[in-house]
């Protein structure tokens, strides 16, 4: 049996052109394969990231090249009440939404992990809030939070008679803050639930069987088997969730645009307002860059805070 007949297109091999041979040269092929991806990331990600940090130290505005002003932008931010407001709300938004998303998402994952009919259809339905464009579902929430025609107010006032007046969801600072957080939790539950469900399915049933033979209650099984086994995946999913919640933009921009009286500005929406809408590119960039320390801290905290358990339990069980 000759080599040429075993591979169907072996005939090509008898006259390999120089180009074909060049593509068979491994280092060349590696460079060719990596160029598109790395090129895109260098031009549209690494370079802008560096440029953003540079802009933060200049007084660039739209249409005018800025000059280096050192820490001036950041010194200004420290005296800016709106920036402090945005920091406060970004932290609150991330903290409360993360707790909400993860407790409800974990619960939903545990529920979906049960055996019942139409399971796969249900899983698909549950993912919908995550699939549909955020701005479009945010508009639905805007309408749900309408001061006059809110369906929630209607339920509370006309159906349940718990309240006598409509709730002004978006017109007053604290209700507005929590309305946005609720919408964010709603959007985040599916992703958390499906990711954690995937994690739950990797836990070997024999662990539960053994625990049950030892007479462990369902709470004990959750506390001493499910939770520790889920820690690594929780750490990853939570790190992601924190990064993307802290830097969220769409939901706030679509529903309140930072109002009322700037109480719901996140750092990202404030950066947009100053940088793009207001034309102060340098200052906007400084606000965007001021997110980085928070992100690094939150990432380290969530990742190492949760992953630590895993290390302590030792490499033996992995």
């Amino acid at each position: 049996m000759s080599l040429t007949t075993t591979f169907p297109r072996g005939a090509d091999r008898s006259k390999p052109g120089p180009l074909v041979r060049l593509f068979d040269y491994k280092p060349f092929l590696i460079i060719v394969c990596l160029t598109p991806a790395l090129g895109l990331l260098l031009v549209f990600l690494t370079y802008p990231l560096g440029l953003g940090v540079w802009l933060a130290f200049t007084d660039t505005t739209i249409g005018r090249r800025g000059i280096f002003v050192g820490l001036e932008n950041f010194q200004y931010l420290l005296t800016d009440r709106l920036w402090w407001n945005a920091v406060f709300y970004s932290v609150l938004y991330t903290g409360v939404a993360t707790i909400g998303k993860f407790s409800l998402g974990f619960w939903l994952a545990l529920l979906l992990n049960n055996h019942f009919p139409f399971k796969s259809i249900l899983r698909a339905i549950v993912l919908l809030p995550w699939i549909v464009p955020t701005v479009l579902s945010a508009l639905a929430f805007w309408w749900i939070y309408d001061p006059q025609f809110s369906i929630i107010s209607y339920l509370l006032v006309d159906v349940l008679h718990i309240r006598t007046t409509n709730i002004d969801f978006l017109g007053t600072p604290w209700p507005a803050r929590f309305s946005l957080i609720a919408a964010n939790i709603w959007r985040g539950i599916p992703f958390v639930a499906i990711s954690l469900l995937a994690g739950l399915q990797t836990i070997s049933p024999s662990l539960y069987e053994a625990a049950m033979l030892d007479g462990a209650s369902s709470w004990q099984r959750f506390r001493y088997i499910t939770l520790p086994m889920m820690m690594p995946i929780l750490a990853i999913v939570m790190t992601f969730s924190i990064i993307f919640t802290f830097t969220d933009f769409q939901l706030v921009y679509a529903i309140t645009r930072g109002g009322p009286i700037n109480s719901t500005h996140l750092l990202a929406t404030l950066a947009f307002q100053r940088g793009i809408a207001g034309g102060e590119l340098g200052e906007g960039a400084a606000i965007a860059v001021s997110m980085i320390p928070f992100l690094v801290f939150a990432t380290l905290f969530s990742y190492f805070g949760l992953a630590r358990r895993k290390w302590q339990q030792g490499e033996a069980n992995d």
Binding site: R13, C33, P36, L40, N114, I125, L128, W143, I243
Partner: protein
Amino acid sequence: MTDTEVLGRPAKAARGVNSASAAPDTMPWDTRARRTVLVYLPLACFVIILLFPFYWMALTAFKPNAELLDYKSHNPFWISSPTLAHIKHLLFNTAYPHWLMTTMLVAVGATFISLMSSTLAAYAIERLRFKGSPYVGLGIYLAYLVPPSILFIPLATVVVQLGLFDSPLSLILVYPTFLVPFCTWLLIGYFKSIPYELEECALVDGATRLQILRRITLPLAVPGLISAGIFSFTLSWNEFIYALAFIQSSANKTVPVAILTELVSGDVYQWGALMAGSLLGSLPVAIFYSLFVDYYVSSLTGAVKE
């Protein structure tokens, strides 16, 4: 699937043990009631809450204005005389069809570029294996953790410098920055699952590496390619901040941005048209996704299991 089936049974038995009676199967009614309260009831609440905004969106889109603003004489949870007026207004009196086309063009273009470059990158990192390949892989993946909110201001200046401001092409080129990292990561996982021996055999038989990629590795990675494609398409369709920052003229806007900036005007909101726009804008993604939901969930599951 099989995991949960196995897992389901002991869990059910355990409830029997915990309840007053000692034997698991002697009190089926009790077990069923517990199960209803502990599983079905909360599950039903979750489904209702997760789906309600969509129901409300759809309901509003087909409600005549008279019913929309009158909760006293009409049940707000139902429509007595559905109308297509809002959708007609949206399709014929606004640039909505044009926005849909732009969004589709951007999503398809960005998905195509992302799939091409991340397939090649994943192939090089996982299959060609060179000295620094794990680091290159990690580097590409870390790029996913850089949020668009930090990048949009400097990227706007880059886009202006390239002369692409206000052009959908800018979005097609910029979206891969958040699509390529995830797709590459997903595809590395897929390539890993394909036995290396298949490629070795072909190599011994004299196939070139490009032939191997085209005829062996890619066909086997099709499920991974599909889920990476769905992921890219939905994320491109969803993207907001870049589209808001880089596009100025009404004609070039994508659906999410256009609805928010073009349809919301003045103090009186056209809720019917707004919700119709949201509904129509959600449908392509929802349909596209429902066609491939199994690929999607399984690859997400697979990626997480890694």
